[in-house]
Symmetry: C2
Subunit: 348 residues, 2 copies
Amino acid sequence: MKIITIVGAGQMACALSFPATQNGNKVRVVGTPLDRDVIETAKTTGFHTLLKRQLPSTGIEYYQIEDVNKALDGADVVICGVSSFGVDWFSDNILPIIPENIPLLSITKGMIDLEDGSMITYPQYFQSKLILNKKLSINAIGGPCTSYELADKDNSVVTFCGYDIDILRTLKSLFESPYYHISLSTDVVGVECAVALKNAYALGVSLAIGLTIGADGLGHEHYNSQAGLFGQSVKEMKHLLEIVGGGEENIILSAGDLYVTVFGGRTRKVGTLLGQGLSIEESIKQLKGVTLESIVIATRTARGVRVLAKRGIVKLSDFPLLMHVDNIINSGAAAVDIPWKAFETEKI
Amino acid sequence: MKIITIVGAGQMACALSFPATQNGNKVRVVGTPLDRDVIETAKTTGFHTLLKRQLPSTGIEYYQIEDVNKALDGADVVICGVSSFGVDWFSDNILPIIPENIPLLSITKGMIDLEDGSMITYPQYFQSKLILNKKLSINAIGGPCTSYELADKDNSVVTFCGYDIDILRTLKSLFESPYYHISLSTDVVGVECAVALKNAYALGVSLAIGLTIGADGLGHEHYNSQAGLFGQSVKEMKHLLEIVGGGEENIILSAGDLYVTVFGGRTRKVGTLLGQGLSIEESIKQLKGVTLESIVIATRTARGVRVLAKRGIVKLSDFPLLMHVDNIINSGAAAVDIPWKAFETEKI
């Protein structure tokens, strides 16, 4: 039995409590200041208001943020359970109080672009935020897995990544279950970029949903155009993986994760609304209160690629779909103007 | 204006008449002996009974098989429009009467395994069937495109492959349209294998649909398990592409084509029925009259891989999903026993 402390009571983090407790571990869920109501309700009823599920009835305890030190006391693993919008809060408030000998496992997907156009993953970002000489094992989860379905014990295939294979094996032993299947990889950059990028491209693929169902939503959903955008997404993600130095086999993760994300909720909704002809402002308004990581990751990746293109390192023409998505989000371009002809290639 | 003669009045072949006639070409559709009724109805009403659509009202003519020579007279291109079950008929009856100067463009997807475990594409197979010294330009279409949606002018992204880029460019000029987007590739083996394999794996992915909706079909469809099988499919297809010597960038085609096939009809149905617990015989019975190319391609590919494994060229353990699909089809294995743990990897 190990003690797993989750900081950030988001949906995915709390969904992990199912395989964790089933394996006999104790789970402590600590809410961020934004999770106060979630924790309060869970404490009294065991119900997670965002995941919309009863959490495991035994083996789980809930803490408000002021009790975080109590929740960390004796913990064997800490889970970073915040969304990409909470990464700085986590870095400033939680990273400093995690003891060196306790590994961190992060569920946050995303990337940050630097001024020179290079892109870094959250594990790298967390690393850069550690105080001088602090050593912390920072690991992360990638792969196609939506929180609802993990909570419902649908078979899910994920990858844990980190720099120390022994720590990864230990982490795997805490969570592996008959429905939660875990591969391991020490290629942190490859895994994390692969799964971060799919958010941007899921938005791109779902444009085709909105375009075929039309402004009134009554049209018939078509798949040829979705598949065309899916293939183009895989092509561009493959290229981006090369740029960041991730192993090309991680395209397997990108493709699987892109698949589940197109069907999985938030990103599909914003892409569909854009495809139906709404502006980015109107789309965000319709999805009020929902975190839209896809918009952030698309903007950051496009910004990075544009800087790299200016430096002569990549060609913008290799990323027509990413550029289109970015132009919709940040320059008011019409979703309907998908650059189909730019996807055509000649291989001789 | 060019004359395009389609032999085999299948759905995809006839769907091509939309971009073809829109570009001002004349299309002649010749039915196989099995298409007699399809041609008869189309002649009198313009309706394609399998595609369930009105074909273009102008620029298209219909021929029964006894008039095939008339239909070939003056043709600029011949389309092979048969399914994989008609390939031998086409080789025996049509290949010999196509003049050398007329390029062939085939829509048939599939592969044939030879006794030594190697796999050859239909363009290669057609080539092997030509009479001594006959030179014919044999080209083919790959990529994610269902016939219904092409007929409905949904944006579709495909690849024409063949050995002569100039002929490919000419073929492209006949069909490219505002909704039909064509890349070109001289990597015939890579393109054709990429798109053939997806049929086998689409069956694998759709097992998860049947497993989550359950025997009564009332369960909730989940995507984590589909995505897990999708990622595993991409991994195995990538490996198979290497084995046959196709360029690895063709995984883009496999992924897009797998995506559209999972949503596209026949293969999804058989995989779903198997996932729901029906035997292969019961599933085929339920889909009576429907061509099930996925079963053929999965069986052939698995047979090829098993021979290659015996010869020490590949490891069977690298293809757990293909083996599982093959075991369901050919050895009565239960769909539910998906070898999830065999999908897990360690990358150090």
